[in-house]
């Protein structure tokens, strides 16, 4: 299962100052742990909202609003995309994030199975019989 792990912004991350050497090193070690465990798919740190923008939709119009944005705790400062077995495992990883304070949100990513209709027994049987065909012929 894929999870998006979102690190919320704070005054420091919004200030645009680079993180302290210490935090930078700690994050590096944490990232390395994720890579070594084979669970990290992607991850990035985000520049402050002052360097970003929003596009608002409404009344058939699009309005561009430049940053910064005030509601700091609703902003993101970075994310990881990880592939783990369960929400519990995602939580166990997030508990290791080298954060002193603040909040990190974990959200499951939709999987194809979430959209698949329930299969009837008959269809399932038919599919089992088709299995050989899919696995043996990659290009045929």
């Amino acid at each position: 299962m894929r999870f998006m792990i979102m690190v919320k912004a704070n005054a420091e991350s919004e200030s645009g100052e680079p993180p302290s050497q210490e935090l930078f090193a700690a994050m590096g070690r944490f990232n390395e742990e994720l890579v070594n465990a084979g669970v990290l798919l992607a991850g990035e740190g985000l520049k402050p909202s002052s360097q970003g923008a929003r596009v608002r939709f409404g009344g058939g119009r699009r309005t561009v609003v430049d940053g910064p944005f005030a509601e700091t705790e609703e902003l993101l400062a970075g994310f990881w995309l990880i592939d783990v077995k369960s929400l519990d495992e995602a939580i166990a990883w997030v508990e290791r994030v080298p954060c002193e304070e603040g909040e990190v949100e974990i959200r499951p990513v939709f999987e194809p199975a979430d959209f698949e209709p329930h299969l009837s027994e008959e269809l399932h049987e038919a599919e089992l019989r088709l299995r050989e065909r899919v696995t043996t012929q990659q290009h045929l």
Binding site: E32, V35, V39, K85, D88, A92, H124, Q137, H139
Partner: protein, 425 residues
């Protein structure tokens, strides 16, 4: 319904499972280095898990759960060594070291330790995939020791009885002991052979998951994710081995298509008919990067890198029509020299016909007609019939389609083939 006490305990249990999943391989690997016995290391790790299940619901999950488990397991190891006389020899060997290191376990993260853990993990990978073990045993042991899967989970994923898997694992541990397999990373000539055994096991796990279908136990498709994870871990452990990157590239690209492989009713869709917008671009990108890495390390002609390169040809093509069939035919030609197999040849025939026309494809496939391994393989007459049909040799094509229909065990496919046979008259 469960009261709050039970709910809290349940939550802790799930947290422990998650910790186990993250820590178990490192734990077993670290212990195995001390006691030089993978089977015993696993038992000690299990003991530590039991201790966690007993204590954590009361005390809460410790800040550094991995170090906690390791320190408990090491203490158990010392007890065990002390208790059992037949371990006297081992006591002399390792008892002192254990005692020194077992007492004051550093509960803080120690980056200096990481390199060592990596070495231990690699030793564990090579041991679990040792060629003295049967393929089934290697697969089961790898999932158990490196994936942290339970016997029950492995059994469900492979559609076999739990007792079968349990026996496999017990026997595998015994065989490792009997063969006196050292807990080490093989060097020299042996290394390549041993590494290919490791890659084979990981790819087997991947394919087992890939062949799972929508009605299966959810653990089956999970095997793909597990194999991918093991592959990515292995890349970190042996970053200079091109074939490891090749295998990871192959798995990432194949996994990128998992969303597009079946229609809404769960019916499989062939590669060229898949909706490419459903391919996972993140995995494709990861796969292409891994393939580049394999090639940069001089491994472009490794069997896994070649298969990854083939998969990459499809991944790079925006539409099925844009497929570079000439390149695919060329890659199959190299692959058929590196890892000769009639199936590869049959695939090459198809690629050749797509690139250079049905007559060229027929030439390749005609060489396969007498190959015993393909005697009852329905895709051979099916492919040959297709070439003949395109060349306008209808009576011959008809006979081939009918033969293919006779050989296939799949009713939908049989109908399709008989339709094609009818088109020939």
């Amino acid at each position: 319904m469960a009261g709050t006490g039970t709910a809290a305990a349940d939550k802790t249990h799930r947290a422990i499972e998650a910790v186990w999943r993250i820590e178990s391989a490192r734990l077993i690997a670290g212990l195995a280095r001390f006691i030089r016995d993978v089977g015993l290391a696993e038992e000690l790790a299990q003991d530590a898990l039991v201790a966690a299940l007993e204590q954590w619901p009361e005390s809460g999950v410790p800040n550094n759960p991995g170090a906690w488990l390791m320190s408990v397991a090491k203490r158990r190891a010392i007890d065990l060594v002390r208790r059992k006389e037949n371990f006297a020899r081992k006591l002399e060997e390792i008892g002192h070291r254990l005692e020194v290191e077992g007492e004051g376990v550093d509960l803080e993260y120690d980056p200096a330790l990481d390199g060592e853990i990596g070495d231990d993990l690699l030793r564990l990978v090579f041991t679990a995939c040792h060629p003295v073990l049967s393929t089934d045993a290697r697969v089961a042991l790898t999932l158990r020791l490196l994936g942290g899967l339970t016997t029950d989970e492995i059994a469900r994923a492979f559609l076999v009885a739990e007792s079968t898997v349990a026996q496999r694992i017990v026997r595998a541990k015994k065989n490792l002991e009997k063969a006196k397999v050292p807990f080490e990373v093989p060097q020299g000539e042996d290394r390549a052979r041993r590494l290919s055994s490791v890659l084979e096991v990981i790819y087997l796990i991947f394919n087992e998951g890939y062949s799972a279908t929508a009605g299966d136990d959810w653990l089956r498709p999970e095997l793909c994710a597990e194999a991918l994870r093991l592959g990515r871990v292995l890349v970190g452990l042996v970053p200079k081995e091109p074939e490891v990157h090749g295998l990871v590239a192959l798995m990432e690209i194949q996994a990128s298509r998992s969303r597009a492989r079946t229609d809404a009713a769960g019916k499989p869709i062939l590669l060229l008919e898949q909706d490419r917008s459903r391919w996972d671009q993140l995995l494709i990108r990861r796969g292409l990067t891994a393939l580049e890495q394999a090639e940069k390390l001089g491994g472009a002609h490794g069997p896994y890198a070649l298969q990854a390169a083939l998969a990459a040809c499809h991944a790079r093509a925006r539409t099925a029509d844009a497929t570079d069939w000439e390149r695919i035919a060329g890659l199959y030609e190299v692959l058929s020299k590196v890892a000769p197999s009639p199936i590869v040849e049959l695939n090459r025939a198809v690629a050749v016909s797509m690139a250079f026309g049905p007559a060229a494809g027929l030439e390749v496939v005609d060489e396969l007609v007498d190959v015993p391994a393909l005697k009852n393989y329905h895709l051979l007459p099916s492919v040959r019939g297709d070439f003949l049909f395109k060349l306008g040799r209808l009576p011959e094509a008809k006979a081939e389609f009918e033969r293919a229909a006779e050989l296939t065990r799949n009713s939908r496919e049989r109908d399709l083939l008989l339709d094609r046979a009818r088109e020939c008259s």
